[in-house]
Symmetry: C2
C-alpha cells in the first residue's frame, strides 16, 4: 500500500489534500502542529474530522505535535496576544504581520524527519503530501515553489535514505477553488458528506471565542470566494451572519 505523511492544519487546503490522498489509495499518517496559534479551534475541528473519517472506515493516524512552548516567542500576530490579527485582503501589505518566521521550514523539517523515520523503520517509500498551491505567494514567501524546492534539496543531501522519501504536490499549479472542487469530488468518491467535512474545518485567523469565523480577515475572504465560485454554502458559522 502506498504510504503518505501529511501535515494537516484543519484548514481547507490540507483537508482537501487529505481527502485526495484517501481517494488515491494512500495509507495516511497525519501530523498537526500546535504552535500557539490563536486560531487553535482548527485543531479541535481537525480531530473531529479525523473521527468522522474513522467512523466511515478511513483510518488516518493523527499525531498532534506541540510546538507551543518552542514557538511562543515568535514574532507574529497569529501568536502574540499583544498584536491584533489584521482585517483585509489576503495578500495585502498589512497582512504581513500574520507571517510566522520560518514556520513552514520548521513544519517541513519535522515532517521530513517523521517520514524518514517511517521509511527506515518499515523499509518502505513514503510520500510527503503538501497542499502548496498557486496562491499564498505575495506575502508568504515560505509558500512558494522555489522555497520548497530549495528546502527539499537541503533535506535530500542532509539525510541517509532520502531516496525513499518523495513528494506529492497535486495542487502546486492550482488555486483554492480547484482544491475545494477537488474535495467535493473526493467526498463523492469516498462516500463522505462534503458539508460535514467542511464544517469541521477552520480557515479564519481571528475566530471568536465560540469558534465563529470573523469573515473579515484575508483568510476568510479567500475561503468565502472559493465557496462562492463552487456554488456551495460554507457550513462554518460567521460572526454577525
Amino acid at each position: 500500500m502506498k504510504r503518505a505523511v501529511i501535515s494537516v492544519s484543519g484548514g481547507m487546503d490540507s483537508t482537501g489534500l487529505l481527502l485526495n490522498l484517501l481517494r488515491e489509495g494512500y495509507k495516511v499518517d497525519a501530523i498537526s502542529f500546535n504552535y500557539g496559534q490563536k486560531h487553535s479551534v482548527e485543531i479541535e475541528r481537525l480531530n473531529k474530522n479525523i473521527d468522522y473519517l474513522k467512523s466511515n472506515g478511513y483510518n488516518v493516524e493523527l499525531k498532534n505535535l506541540d510546538l507551543s512552548q518552542v514557538m511562543k516567542s515568535f514574532n507574529s500576530s497569529l501568536i502574540d496576544e499583544s498584536l491584533d490579527v489584521p482585517s483585509g485582503v489576503y495578500d495585502s501589505e498589512n497582512m504581513k504581520s500574520t507571517v510566522v518566521p520560518n514556520r513552514n521550514a520548521i513544519f517541513s523539517a519535522i515532517t521530513y524527519g517523521y517520514a524518514l523515520s517511517i521509511s527506515t523503520k518499515e523499509n518502505c517509500n513514503v510520500d510527503i503530501a503538501l497542499g502548496v498551491h498557486s496562491g499564498d505567494h505575495t506575502i508568504y514567501p515560505d509558500c512558494r515553489e522555489d522555497f520548497f524546492t530549495a528546502l527539499n534539496y537541503a533535506f535530500k543531501i542532509g539525510n541517509w535514505g532520502s531516496e525513499k522519501v518523495g513528494y506529492y504536490l497535486p495542487y502546486m499549479k492550482e488555486n483554492k477553488f480547484f482544491i475545494l472542487k477537488d474535495a467535493k469530488i473526493s467526498c463523492e468518491k469516498l462516500n463522505l458528506d462534503f458539508t460535514t467535512v467542511f464544517k469541521n474545518t477552520n480557515t479564519c485567523y481571528n475566530p471568536s471565542k465560540d469558534g465563529k469565523s470573523c469573515g473579515k480577515c484575508g483568510s476568510c475572504n479567500e475561503r468565502l470566494e472559493a465557496f462562492l465560485f463552487l456554488g456551495e454554502k460554507d457550513p462554518v458559522e460567521y460572526l454577525g451572519v
Copy 2:
C-alpha cells in the same frame, strides 16, 4: 552591541562556540533542545554552565526548548529505548544508528525563526552561531557545509527580513582539537576556569545513570583524543576509571 543566537547542546563544540561569542563581545541568546535524547545529562550540565557564566557576569539568556513529544517516534538509537547506542570509532558504519533523521534541519529551522523574531522585534542584525566543523562528516550528512549552505539558501528566500540574519561559523575548517584550544584561550581572556566549564559538559552518547561517560562510544573517543592533544585532563568522570 552585536547580537547572536546559538543552539547549545552542552557538548564540547557548542560550549567552545559560546565562550568564543562572549570573547568576541556578543550579547548571546542561547537555545537548547530536549528531543528525548538518552544523554539528557548534557542539558543539566548546560544549565550549570550558564549559571557559572552568570555568576561571573556573563548574562547568557538560555531557553530550553522541548521537542521530546515531537521527536519521540524518530528512528535513532539516541532516542529509542529499544535500540542500544553502539561503541566504536566516531565515523564507523555502525555509528549510523546514532543519526537522528533531519535533526539539524529541525534545530536550524527553529533557531532561524527565533533569530528572525529577535531581529524583527528589536530591529537589529542577528548572527546565528553554529559549531559546524571539519569533522563529523562521514556518517552525519547534516553536519556538512554543503547542507548548511543549501538550508540557509532556502531560509533566505522563504522569509522577509532575512537580510538581517547572518551566520557566524568560526570552526568551519577546524577540528575538535582546535575548538578545545580555542575554548582554553577564551577562558583565559574571560577569566573563567577551563576545568569548571568542561566539567559542566557532556559528550557521551551513552552515559550511566549517575552521569558518567562510557569512554567507548565514538563521541567519547573523539573527546578524549582532543584532551590528549591539548595536554589537559578531561574533568568529566568516566566509567571504570
